[in-house]
Symmetry: C2
């Protein structure tokens, strides 16, 4: 039996969730709350297997609720729900450890599947949301060209820079002289269009050059 806890301020929507869960023999609705205010306490009390969390709620919204749940160290599955699929909130929810992210326009037929999926260790997402998520990852290929410009040795050096090595440490690690390190770094700066170690590190990490 899957224990489901719901945070949803819209009465109609809450009602339809309730009906769906009532019709599912393997699910039990543990409660519905209209905002995330006492989410942590309620969760500790009712120990749900999964939480459906609306993002748009008055007083305390779903993102705040999620953040508190994770800050408390609770590792319950939390599937976010919203009518919008704006990048910013998807990103935020995912960074805060959402288990899944589904849009409210999800057809009821798939709704229960998503819940079961989440409970079984999956990460249900509406396809359009999934696409957004992937976009967050995919870097413009143009930037990767920067990396291609670097010679093998330069890449070695950059990698160590990113790890926080000093020139001296790099020299001894690569068994080359300090001056050689300096030469490589000069070239790297030219190619990445930066002029300090921290800029190079920032660019390398942000463009996953390493």
């Amino acid at each position: 039996m899957i224990g489901v806890l719901v945070f949803e301020d819209n009465r109609d929507f809450a009602e339809s969730i309730k009906e769906m869960l009532d019709d599912a023999p393997d699910m039990e609705l543990l409660g519905i709350f209209e905002n995330a205010k006492n989410a942590v306490k309620v969760i500790k009390l009712l120990k749900p297997d999964i939480i459906l969390m609306d993002i748009d709620m008055p007083v305390k919204d779903g993102l705040e609720g999620l953040r508190e749940i994770r800050t408390e160290g609770l590792d319950v599955s939390v599937v976010m729900q919203t009518v919008f699929e704006d990048n910013e909130r998807v990103f935020q929810a995912i960074c805060d450890g959402a288990t899944g992210y589904i849009l409210k326009k999800t057809p009821p037929s798939k709704f229960l599947d998503y819940i079961r999926e989440a409970v079984n260790g999956g990460a249900p997402m509406t396809p359009s949301v999934a696409r957004q998520v992937l976009k967050l990852f995919t870097l413009p290929f143009q930037h990767k060209k920067d990396l291609l410009l670097l010679t093998a040795r330069e890449q070695d050096v950059l990698t160590l820079l990113v790890r926080g090595f000093s020139y001296k440490m790099i020299a001894s690690d690569l068994k080359i002289s300090l001056e050689t390190v300096r030469s490589h770094i000069k070239k790297i700066y030219e190619k990445l269009h930066v002029n300090s170690k921290s800029e190079a590190v920032a660019k390398a990490i942000q463009n996953r050059l390493t």
Copy 2:
């Protein structure tokens, strides 16, 4: 009509894909190849709407194929297929711009849905893969505590450090003296357990402290 191009070395699997596509009235199989060797040429010739790309193939595997496709600037949908769901390759595929990522154990009933989803701008993923993807995002919450330790002003300074500002630039940007900047940075280094600008920048970016 959806034009589908398949790269798959396993004869049996290729055959079953062929049968599925033949049975689908809205899909047309444009061809099956046993490795990604001439992928770019073939794609330019046949102009498929979607590509099913096996990852594990001899001679030239799917990840290499995908990379070449993106390097060429082709923005066709490419759905990766594999029996394994190991983190490394999922990550690689996504970074290289895969449209979706499905496991071969996907039931045939869902298979066609996934293809249609991809063509319609979605990003089909087997739930377990989706979970992996989310994990790549979710940072250990412990690290976020580092940020909480920083005072508002320290965060200001860190943000500018990440943008590649020098001490002087930070000072003039925040309209405080160079010495104050130095003080803040000392504290930041203490709290982040680092002792150079580039380490601080690396840590800030990697833990999304900004």
